[in-house]
Subunit: 174 residues, 2 copies
């Protein structure tokens, strides 16, 4: 699909196709439909960023809280969204050893206890060792730093999900 | 569940339980968790209203676009959320005659074409005849009027969904 086709979509199809570019937040996709036509994939991405950035702090925290834990209960119970399942699997999160699993569970809990939202990372831009390292390091950050960092990761995830859905003439520039 | 129990929920359980009080907008529920503890069910409802009211116009339109059509494709394909299915069924939307079905489909399309979001109504506060009448009448409103009216209906739906989940000491005052 190219950007001209995207611009021609009725909102229902637009939300069906792009509704999960920000995990479990179809309202964001549904809101930016108002801003069409988009000159490019970059412009669609920019509209999503603009919406996210204008949210109050609680709204940004809300976005993070819509994300599953890495290697957490949604993965184990099979209730991850398709996108999250694929991303966590690529990073090896579905195949942790027992020791690693316990460590990740403990660090996830520590992180959530400390910040009131989950550890969010763009798993496709990382690998298992790096994810585990960042999880343990980011637990020690200040809350404001982690909120901003989590939202940055949400935007990276969004970019890759968009790239998987729309052909860009200049993919390196997205 | 009473409000003390609600206030004690970790965000994951809070979002699991209340994530669909605004249809397909768990971000709203996840955001207001930040505002706990809630003095009452009214206070929880007020926090949700405050979040919705602070959204830009595109965000309010986004909320409406997350709603299914009445007696539309999600009902026919079995993909309504549990809450919407029950609400539409109570109002008789699952049992329209062929003539009524065609009329509703035509009016839904006309409404969406005109406004760029779907007709939203609190079906549980209405009945089939009244819903069909309002659908045909509201098609003729101005867009700004319908956006405000749709959001009012979203809040009524939210109130009834909340009342179904939390015991209130003063249910008449919710």
């Amino acid at each position: 699909m190219d950007i001209a086709a995207v611009n021609g979509l009725p909102y229902e199809d637009f939300v069906d196709i792009f509704g999960n570019v920000v995990e479990k937040c179809p309202i964001i996709t549904a809101a930016v439909w108002t801003k069409r036509p988009f000159a490019s994939l970059n412009a669609l991405e920019a509209a999503i960023h603009e919406f996210i950035d204008a949210l109050p702090q609680s709204g940004k925290e809300g976005i993070l809280r819509c994300h599953p834990d890495l290697a957490g209960r949604d993965l184990h119970s099979g209730t991850l969204t398709r996108e999250s399942r694929e991303e966590q699997a690529r990073a090896g999160m579905h195949a942790l050893g027992p020791e690693e699993s316990r460590r990740v569970a403990r660090l996830n809990d520590e992180y959530k206890q400390r910040f009131g939202f989950p550890f969010v990372i763009c798993a496709r831009m990382s690998d298992k060792a790096s994810i585990l390292l960042q999880l343990s390091e980011r637990c020690r950050n200040e809350r404001a730093v982690e909120l901003a960092r989590g939202i940055e990761e949400v935007k990276k995830i969004c970019r890759l999900r968009l790239q998987g859905l729309v052909h860009s003439d200049a993919p390196n520039k997205l």
